[in-house]
Assembly symmetry: D3
Homo-oligomer: 246 residues x 6
C-alpha cells in the first residue's frame, strides 16, 4: 500500500503516474450518542480508505479529522469548522494534487452533514475549474449506507434509523468495538417532529441523547460487517471507474 | 491518556474541566530530502504531543497533517495549503475549543515555515480577540531545536544545519527509523547563496537534493534521542505554565 | 394579497406584524430544452408563491430571477451567479426581513441545483445565527415534485424523468402554455452514463438536447395540473407551520 | 420585443448576435414617503427598460428589485443589500453576459444611492477587466432627471426637490397612478440641515415623512409624462451609442 | 500645531480630548500631464490640511500618498491601489481613531476618482456602523474646486477644464512652483468624445497628453492663490462644523 | 535623488529602466515610551531610505506611516491596521511597481512587529507569484540592529534591550533629537515575565512605561550614529545585490 506520508519526494517522483488515484478520508469530531466516540465518522472513513488503498494504483492521503457540523455543534465535544474553512482545505488539497500530477482522486467523508458535503463538492468544482483534466469523486459512505433502509434483505434496520443509531453503532461494533460503550446506548429514539424544510441550527433540544433516530441497542457486529462489505463494494466500483477511465 | 477522538460526548462533558489543556500536533506533507518521508514534520510533532499528553489534565486533539510550505512546494510530493487556509483551520479549531469550554491549548507544529507559523499565531490572536480568557501557546519544536546550533555540548551539529539535515535526520532515526532511507542521504549540503532579506518562492533551484543545509549522513539515532529529550523538556515547561496558571 | 412592492412605508409599518410570513420566489435563467423558456424555474416558483400569498398573514416579496447553475452554464442563455453571490443575496434579504420585524419567511426556489439550494440554506443558517428568533423554511418545489417518481398513482411519470422532462414540461403546460414550444420537444432522453459520485462541471456533452432525462413529449397540461396541486398542498402545509408556530 | 426570460436556449443561440444589447432594469425596495410604493424605483426603471427594449437588437433581462440603500434603511419596509452583494450580483450577471456572447449592455437603475450606483459601476469595471471587449453603460434615470432642476422650461420643479418629492411623485402618477396615495402626500419638505460632506448612516431623523426634499403635492401626471419623455430621449441616445458602435 | 507623528503616547493621552478633530490628507501617485508631478494630488491635500491644522483643537495625521486611480492607471508612473485596499486602510484608520477616543475626523483627498472617493466614504460608513458616535466628514478639495467652472467671477477657467488643466496647474503654481514644468504644458485639450454613462477602464487613448480637458498654459499662480483661498474657506467651514457640534 | 513623487509621467517614462530599484520606507504610529514620538519607526525607516536613495539607479517611493501593531495597540496613540490591510497595501504597491516596469524593490520597515513583517513578506510573495521576474527584498532595519546585542564592541547595549530602549532612543537622538524628551525617559525596564511561546494581545499590562526592555536613559547620540552607520552598511549591501543582479 502506498501512503503519501511515507514516501520520500524521490519515491513520489518515481512512483506516482498519470493514472494514480489519491484516496482521501475525511471525518469530524462530533457527538455520536453516549456510546460512540467523537471520532466515529473519521474512524469509519479511514477504515474504508485503508481497504480501498490496498488496490494497485492508489495513493492514500493522511486523514482530515476536522469537518463542519452545525447540527451537532451544541453537544459537548463537537468541533465544527466553518463551511468556508472546509471548502478551502479541500480546494487547496485537491488543487495541490493536480499541481503534483495526481489527476484522479476519491474523497470519502465519514460525515454526512449537508453543508459539509456541499463544501467538499464545491471545493471539487473549484479545483476542476482550475484543472479541468482532473477526475474527482466525492462521496460519503453514509450516502450508500442510508439507501439500505427499507431495502429487501435489510429488515433489521429501523425505518427511522439515523446518526448514531442502529447502522452507525453496528458499523462501529464491526470496526472498533473497543471504543463502543454499548452499556450506555439509549433505547429507541424516534424521529423528532421538526417541520419539513425548516432550517435549524442545532439538534440538541430535539435529541438529548445524541442519537438522531433509530435504536443503537439493536446494533450487532454481524450487521455492521454486512453493511461495511456493501459499502466497500460500492466504493470499490467508484474507485474502479476512476482507475479505468482514459 | 485522554484523546478527544475516543471520548463520547458524555465523557467529554464529564471529564473536561476549566483547567484542561488541549494539545494539538500539526504537520505538513513536504519534501525532506531523498531519505526522509514526506510526513516527517507531522511524525515529529505527533511523537512529541503523544508524550506531552501522558500528563494529567491534558487532552490530545487529532493531528493535522496539512500545512503551508511555499519554499518546498516545487518539489514532488509537497502539498501546500494557502496561508489563509491554515489560518482559518487553526482559528476555527482554537475558537471551537473555547466554545466547548477548553480554555487552554498548546499548538505544536513540526513544520517551521515562516508563513505557516505566522498563520498559526495569527489564528491564535484572532481566537483570543474573540475569547480573551483563553491561554494559548503556539510553537514549533524546531524553534527549540535550531537554538542548539553552536551551543556548547552540541558540537556534532553543523553550523549550517537545516531542513532534512543532521538534526532532522537524527530525530527521525530516533523516532521512526523504519521510514529513513539512509542509503540515499546526500553528502553535506552547504547553505545556498541567497541574498539576505530577498523574498523567494521556492528553494528547488538552490537545493536540488531537498536538504536545505547540513549533513544528513552525520545523523545518528543517539543524537536524535538527545535532541528529542531536550525538546521534550522545553515543551513540558510550556505545558507546565499552561496547566499551573490561574 | 399583500405585496411588499406595493405597500408604502407607512402601510408596511401598520400592517406587518410579528406573525407575518414573507414568501420569496427564486428562479434562474437556464436552459430548459429547446421547448421551454429560460425562465421556466422562476415562472413555476412565482406561480406557486402567488398562490401561497393569497392566504391571510403573508407578504409576497418580489422574485429573484437569478441563481446558480453550474450544470447548465455551458448551454446558450444560462446565467449562473457564483455560489457566494446567491448566498450573499439570500443572507442579506433574510437578515433584512428580521431587521424589519418580519420573523417568518418561506423561500421557494423553482431551481433545484445542489449548489444553489445549499447557498440558500447556508444563507438561512447565517441569518439565523444573527437572528435566532427567526423561523425560516427553504425549499424547492422540485424537492416535492421528484418524490412522485415511482409513486403509485403517478405511473405516467418516467422513472428517469429529469430537468425539462415530462414533469417540468407538464407543469409549464399547465402554468404558461403560451411559452411552451411542444413542436420542438425532443424524444425520450435516457439518463446519461455519468459515473456515480463523480463531480462534473457541465452537462452539455451528456445531454445535447438540454433535457436531462425523461420524455417531454409525454407531458400534458392535465398531468401538470395534478402535479401543481400536489405541490401546492405540500407547500401550503409548510406555510401553515410557519403561521401557526408560537 | 425579445425577453431573455421567454427565449428557449435554442432561440437564444439563434437570435442573439454580437451586436445584441442587453438591457437590465435594477430597483430596490425602499421607503418613498407615505404615498408611493416601496418598489417605486424598480417600477420606474422597468417602465423605461420595457420601452427601450422595443427597439430592434435589444434583449431585455429580468429585473432585480433588490439594491443597496443605506440612507433609507431605518424606515419601515426598506431592504438594503450590502454594497458587496450588489457589486457581486452585477459583476456576475455582466460577466455572464460576456460569457454568453452578449457584449453590449445597458444597466438602468431606478435607484440613485451613491453606494448603490458605485457598486454597479465597480462591477462593470470588474467585468470589463475580465472581458475588455464588452461595451457597458451604467446609469440611473435619476441622474438624468435631477439635471432638470433649475433648467429653463422646468420651473414647476422645486429647487430642493428630492427623493419622493415632486419629480418622483409626478413620474409615478404617469406610470402607475393606481399605486399612488396622493391623499397621504405630505406638504413641502425643505432640505434638512446636514453639514456638507458629513457622512451619515440614515436620514429618518432628518426626514420623518420619508420625502427627502420637495413637494409631492405639486406633482401631476402631466409633469410626469414630460419628465419621462425626456428620460426616454436621453436613455435612447445611450442605447443608440451601444448599438451603433463598431 | 499638533501632529500625531510627533506626540509621545503620554502627550497623546494628555492632550487629546473628546473634541479633538483629526485631519487626514490623502493623495495618490498618478499622472498629471507632462508638466505636473505624480504626487500632485497629495501635495494639494497636504497643503490644505497643514493649514486646517493650524487651528486649535485639531490633530494632523500623517498623509497617505497611495490611492485608487483606474482612469490614469495605464499612464507611466501611476500606482493604483485596489478599491478594497483603499477602503480597508481608511476603515482601519478611522476605526482606530474611534478606539483611541478621537471621535471627530475630516478626510481630505486631493484625488477625485469616483471609485477612490466612494471607497473612502464607504469606509467612513463602515466605521460609523461600528462606532455611531463618531462625526466624520469626507471630501475632496476638487469637489469644491470644480464647482467654480461657469461661476460668475471665475471666467478664466475653461468650461471643459479637468484633471491637470488650468485649475490644477494654477493651484500647483501657487503651492509648489518648483515642481511645475510649465514649458512642457500642452496646449488646450478638448473633452474627449466618450459616450455618456459608458464605463471605461483607462483614459490614455482619449487623452495622450495626460491633461483631461482644459488649458494648462492658461494657468497662473494668481488664479491658483484665489482658488486655494476659496477651497480653504469652504474646508474651514466643514472643520468648524465638526469642532462646534455637541 | 529620484523621488517618485516629484517626477512627471513623462519623466517616469524616460528615466525609469529595467534596472531601477524602488525603495519604500514603511512605518507605523505606535507608542515608543514617554520620550519618543509615535512616528519613531517611520522616522528611522525614512531616514535610512533617504540615504539609500542617494545612490544612482534608485527611485524613492513616498513613505507609508501606517502599519500593524497588535502589541502596542492598547497604549494611547497607536494606530494599528489589520494584518490583511497591511498585506493588501503592500501587495498592491509591489504589484503596481511590476506593472509599471519597476522590477526591483527594497521595502524597509522601521517597525518590527512579527505580524507586520509577515504581512509585508506575504505581500511580496503574492506579488512574485503574479510577476515572477521581480526581485524583492523586505527587511526591517531592526532585524539588523537587534543582532548587535551581545556582539563584541557593542557592550553599551543592554542584553535585554527592546522597543524604545537604549538602541531605539540612541538612534532617534542621532536622527531627530528635537523630538526626544529625554527628561521623561524611564529608568531601566527589565524584560517582563511572559511565558515562552505564549500568544498575547497587548503588552500594556506588562510594560506600563511603554519601553519594552532596556534603558532609554543610557542612550547617546554617539551610539545612535554608530548603530545607524552599521545599519546603512548592511542595507547598502542589500541594495547593491538588487542593483547588480542580472
Amino acid at each position: 500500500m502506498l501512503r503519501w506520508d511515507d514516501l520520500t519526494f524521490t519515491d513520489f517522483r518515481d512512483r506516482v503516474t498519470d493514472r494514480t488515484v489519491a484516496i482521501w478520508p475525511i471525518g469530524i469530531l462530533e457527538e455520536h450518542g453516549p456510546h460512540l466516540p467523537l471520532a466515529t465518522d473519521a474512524i469509519q472513513a479511514e477504515w474504508g480508505c485503508e481497504r480501498l488503498a490496498r488496490r494497485e494504483g492508489t495513493l492514500l492521503l493522511p486523514p482530515l479529522r476536522y469537518g463542519n457540523g452545525l447540527a451537532t455543534a451544541p453537544y459537548p465535544g463537537t468541533i465544527s469548522l466553518k463551511f468556508d474553512t472546509v471548502r478551502a482545505v479541500a480546494r487547496d488539497v485537491l488543487s495541490e494534487l493536480g499541481r503534483q500530477g495526481v489527476r484522479r482522486a476519491m474523497v470519502v467523508s465519514g460525515h454526512l452533514g449537508a453543508d459539509h458535503m456541499r463544501a467538499l463538492r464545491l471545493a471539487a468544482e473549484e479545483a476542476l475549474e482550475e484543472r479541468p483534466a482532473m477526475k474527482l469523486a466525492v462521496l460519503s459512505d453514509w450516502e450508500i449506507v442510508y439507501e439500505l433502509r427499507g431495502k429487501p434483505g435489510w429488515e433489521e434496520i429501523p425505518a427511522d434509523d439515523g446518526h448514531a443509531g442502529t447502522l452507525e453503532t453496528a458499523r462501529m461494533l464491526a470496526i472498533a468495538p473497543e471504543l463502543c460503550r454499548m452499556e450506555r446506548a439509549p433505547p429507541h429514539v424516534p424521529k423528532a417532529d421538526i417541520p419539513e424544510f425548516r432550517v435549524t441550527l442545532g439538534l440538541d433540544k430535539h435529541y438529548p441523547s445524541g442519537v438522531l433516530g433509530g435504536d443503537a441497542r439493536r446494533a450487532t457486529a454481524a450487521l455492521g460487517h454486512r453493511v461495511n462489505e456493501h459499502v466497500m463494494r460500492r466504493m470499490d466500483a467508484v474507485l474502479d471507474g476512476l482507475i479505468r477511465e482514459g
